[in-house]
Symmetry: C2
Subunit: 660 residues, 2 copies
């Protein structure tokens, strides 16, 4: 049971922060203050002196707009030295307290949240990672990984489909150490949730396989505490605790209304609130020591818990040296893997036409053999996307050591879950689906990029090469969509060597997520492909003279067509260079000198060839060049018919060059 | 109860089609044949001689990969003259039988499906439209709109979050004429649904507020028929019927396995299947008359029903002339609206700084006053996106005539539902959310474009102008993402006039969907803006000399900055033209002559200014120009701070021009 001052400290600090910024969302922090205080002062295993302790409980604030609540908690616990001045800088440039919680920016923030529901799915990812690592490392007497994942969510999070996707999977997987705290206030921005959300949430969560509890009074910290303990005691199912709250509680003139969600309370209302709450001062940001005490006491308790864990872990290291070595591979640098990725063994291939999806599967499996912490899977398409890791087991409630994930047909949650698995630490994750369905993964690919985590997206069936399945399944604009995301590398390899390099780049990346887009159809192996592909763009087949008559820039399946066009043109006395551009994003990062060596400034006759809409390639083609690309949707027919129809033939490429 | 030959005709035709194409998905058509036959021969109000009858029941095959089932049905009923030859051309170029059902391509296809779950949400849209039109038009004795919407979905559809979003809303809205037929076969591509989907689906649907029934034997057409009748009799709740089937039923050597989902059965297996089913011939595509008979009989019954409806509707027209006039506005041309949109009244504005989101709200409301069939809303953000139509009521179970939709925090389903409302006929729909969350709407915006329906997406908070909410809420790549979609027009107006023209263009569009991206922050009114904006790009402030020294191309909030830069440059003797480019997609469709008049080929000093990553503008900037755009994510701070930090100032634009 929490002390009232400690609860109200969250309300007061949040209200003051938002008022000073004249911007922010008081509704959630005020409404959920008691839940947050109870969790953070009596349950959460979190050492504010070491917010990166691997065995800490994770806390995800899925309703990221309630960031003031999290910053209040971090300040009250003393985490990362977050000061009153930091709180006063809420939502200001370069502050440690931005509008929504940002992973990697503020110490103690486990995940970037804001897009509603995403935190729920990331929490499922944390919980999965915990079980995978526990299965991998725990030994009798040494539960080196043994923690809970808490996620606080609201009505909005539960309206979003991503939470249904993620929680359905969490139930299937029996993730008993996942505890969802539902801040149930029945208010949304447009008014009462009655207008759009009258479903029986508890029943839905039961249907998903959760243990469900209800706390009728969201200020009853004793009841909240009992529910959390009961949730922890349920070792077979994830838990869902509906905690009935009043949005903006404490601010009597505004609480319970939609307007309290996202506007400052107003100075007078804050003074009135402080008085009504019995707060000892009406001064902004004035917090008595008694309010800090329970947070600091819990911090000391957790510091002691971590010290005990460290001691036990030292014993574990000594007792299980193989496990310790494996641990270092999971959590530190994997030198063996680095060497392997640079080896000829890794990049070897059979010189025959192959689909890059098949090659992707080959390289994925080679990597998996050398990278014990690689785990991932597809949204029910592994047989098509070739993303099954052979001999690595299937992750399930019965087999926590399995490395192949079965996400179900849930692209959006899959991507967020994989982000959560990465954020946990210790694992590398990948996800997969058809390239056209990257549309569904987009919001989470953006979050991967924003969080600077090296998530891997494996997309196959990457163009009209899909063929008979037709336009609903044929990507056109997806390369553009993903290339446009800042800090996200999109690879589209043309053959085995480029596929190997794409995977190598994705695996070696530390802070940039990325995707590989692979063909359904077979492609020939190119004589000119090499590890120069790691530069994103390179000359795959040069002109015979130093300054080419023209340059063809192509990616993926269009590279071979372009090299064929090059030969046709040469027979007519036109001497062109072919540049393969497997990753525009990485090419952009090369030196100007290198870029100019590939694309000399004075060669203005340039043709870009890509079976997509290829918008980014205009950057290289300029006003004097031409495009061979898609300008509309695809069609349903065998792919060879479509390639011809839409102009992806050596003849058409050659003619386009001649047209310049 | 259906005749066995009629049921098996679906199986046989589907198997033969897929075998001949050597491509396709037999699992669903064979498994769900009995359900489909029962529905189409005993319940569905669908006149194959007039597949556009407005009061027909709608049928959405959410698992669009089962297209062979739908084509079999259309052939068996005789709809659109779909012949055996058409079936033999399954999945071939230019056939009427593409890989997935395509709206507008094959007569009798109510919606394009393929992306799983989307059909479920579109069906909710159909059901909403039915209630809105019924409320608007029905009179005692004249239920001119009175039909059911059936959607057939599978496990995959129900795993997708979009179906949860849509069905939760359908329950809230009490859409009792929505009937979901769940083809429950427990098989997904990666194997048994046990690996990823063990939830209690029936309980979840009950939680959403559906009436739920189960048919234990998916070949028991009598039981299926009874369940459909019971569903129709439930007039307060939508219905969900779980029909337990065996995937690929009839092909004994493959049924019940994952492999039967998406591969041809093989000729020998098909022969064996035909024998096992007692089919009278093993020849491909041989269908006895008895198999056609029930489909044709039902067609005749429905033709008679339509004739009766036509007669009643003629009476209705005579009896309710005002309603008849309104009907014509809903279903035909609205000449008053066309005149209004071209009037000065419509475009009038107050000459003071205003946010384009506020202006968007103004023009939306003016249009709504003149367009009685406009209906729409936001994903719980109407107060922020300014998309509430004043005095037009709130759509709910209690008020079917309300035109303001409350979609809840469900961007993806919202977009699909709005597509369904459009597809129904009679209504124009719009949806709205923050621009950054256009990410969630993307998959459905793509379907709008693919279906050639004029869906309208209203996005606000369109750049780092969001300010304090920070990078999770600041669009960067969203303009690029949406512009890349074929047949989709993205408008980003710079002031009142351009906002008015953007709305006008969106409303006047017949076959191209589009979006308007609006600012959160105030913008000045531009002296040079005009209805030339309808051309997508135009000279908003020209140079003083005929051939400018340089051209600045800008959109939205960056236009005013660019005109300010123009003035600064002129003071230094540099005479530039400013082009406003509110819609790149529409500008691209103008004549070469017009485009060159705006962007003369010989003026190569060009600077594009856009507070996004602006990829598409490289097309106009070329190799000799420069960009003032975003190259990374935004930040949390007041927006004026961010505009300065990221270089969106007149000074920086002017310096960039000088740098050329």
């Amino acid at each position: 049971m929490s002390n009232t001052l400690a609860v109200n400290a969250i309300r007061v600090l949040s209200a003051d922060m938002i008022q000073k910024a004249n911007s922010g969302h008081p509704g959630l922090p005020l409404g959920a203050a008691a839940t947050a205080c109870e969790l953070w002062t009596n349950h959460l295993k979190f050492n504010p002196q070491d917010a990166k302790w691997i065995d800490r409980d994770r806390f995800v604030l899925s309703g990221g707009h309630g960031s003031a609540l999290l910053y209040s908690l971090l300040h009250l616990t003393g985490c990362g030295g977050l000061s009153i001045d930091d709180l006063k800088n809420f939502r200001q440039a370069d502050s440690l307290t931005p509008g929504h919680p940002e992973y990697g920016h503020t110490v103690g923030v486990d995940a970037t949240t804001g897009p509603l529901g995403a935190g729920c799915a990331m929490a499922v990812g944390f919980a999965i990672a915990e079980t995978q690592l526990a299965a991998q490392f725990n030994e009798p007497g040494y539960d080196v990984i043994d923690h809970y994942t808490y996620v606080m969510c609201g009505d909005g999070c539960l309206m979003e489909g991503i939470s249904s996707e993620a929680f359905s999977l969490a139930g299937t997987l029996g993730l008993s150490k996942l505890i969802v705290l539902y801040d149930s206030n029945k208010i949304s921005i447009e008014g009462s949730t009655d207008i759009a959300f009258t479903e029986d949430v508890k029943k839905r969560m039961e249907a998903f396989g959760f243990g469900v509890q209800v706390v009728e009074d969201g200020n009853d910290t004793a009841a909240i505490g009992r529910a959390i303990e009961a949730a922890k005691a349920d070792t077979t199912r994830p838990s869902f605790i509906e905690i009935k709250t009043i949005i903006g509680f404490g601010c009597e003139s505004k609480q319970g209304t939609a307007s309290v969600h996202g506007e400052p309370l107003g100075e007078e209302n804050i003074v009135a609130m402080k008085k009504a709450l019995g707060w000892p001062s009406v001064e902004p940001f004035a917090v008595p020591d008694e309010a800090y005490a329970p947070y600091r006491a819990m911090g000391e308790k957790n510091a002691a818990a971590q010290a005990k864990w460290e001691a036990s872990f030292a014993e574990y290291r000594a007792k299980f040296p193989e496990k310790a070595a494996l641990w270092d591979k999971f959590f530190g640098e994997n030198a063996d893997l680095a060497a392997y990725l640079a080896s000829e063994d890794y990049a070897a291939y059979e010189d025959k036409p192959q689909a890059t999806r098949a090659l992707s599967g080959t390289y994925l499996n080679r990597i998996a053999d050398n990278m014990p912490n690689l785990t991932g899977g597809a949204a029910d398409l592994a047989p098509s996307t070739k993303t099954y890791m052979k001999g690595k087991g299937d992750y399930s409630a019965a087999d926590r050591a399995g490395r192949n994930m079965h996400f179900g047909v849930r692209e959006l949650a899959m991507s967020a879950i994989a982000n959560g698995m990465l954020l946990h630490g210790g694992l590398r994750s990948y996800v997969s689906t058809f390239f056209v369905f990257s549309d569904y993964t987009k919001p989470m690919a953006r979050l991967s990029a924003l969080m600077n985590i090296p998530a891997i997206y494996v997309f196959t069936h990457d163009s009209i090469g899909v063929g008979e399945d037709g336009p609903t399944h044929e990507p056109i604009e997806q390369l553009s969509m993903l290339r446009a995301i800042p800090n996200f590398n999109v690879w589209r390899p043309c053959d085995a060597t480029e596929t190997a390099m794409a995977w190598r780049a994705l695996i070696e990346s530390k802070t940039t997520p990325g995707a590989i887009a692979c063909t359904r159809q077979n492609l020939p192996q190119m004589a000119g492909s090499s590890d120069a592909a790691l530069k994103g763009g390179y000359i795959i087949s040069d002109s015979q003279k130093a300054t080419p008559d023209a340059i063809i820039i192509a990616t993926g399946s269009e590279v071979a067509i372009s090299v064929e066009a090059q030969k046709m043109l040469l027979a007519e006395g036109i001497d062109v260079r072919v540049v393969s551009m497997p990753c525009v994003d990485v090419f952009e990062k090369q030196s100007d000198e290198y870029k100019k060596s590939v694309l000399p400034a004075d060669v203005r006759k340039r043709v870009a060839v890509e079976a997509g809409n290829a918008t980014e390639l205009y950057k290289y083609v300029g006003l004097d060049g031409a495009m061979v690309c898609m300008t509309g949707f695809g069609a349903s027919a065998p792919y060879s018919v479509l390639f011809k129809r839409f102009g992806f033939t050596a003849e058409n490429v050659a003619n386009t060059v001649k047209g310049l």
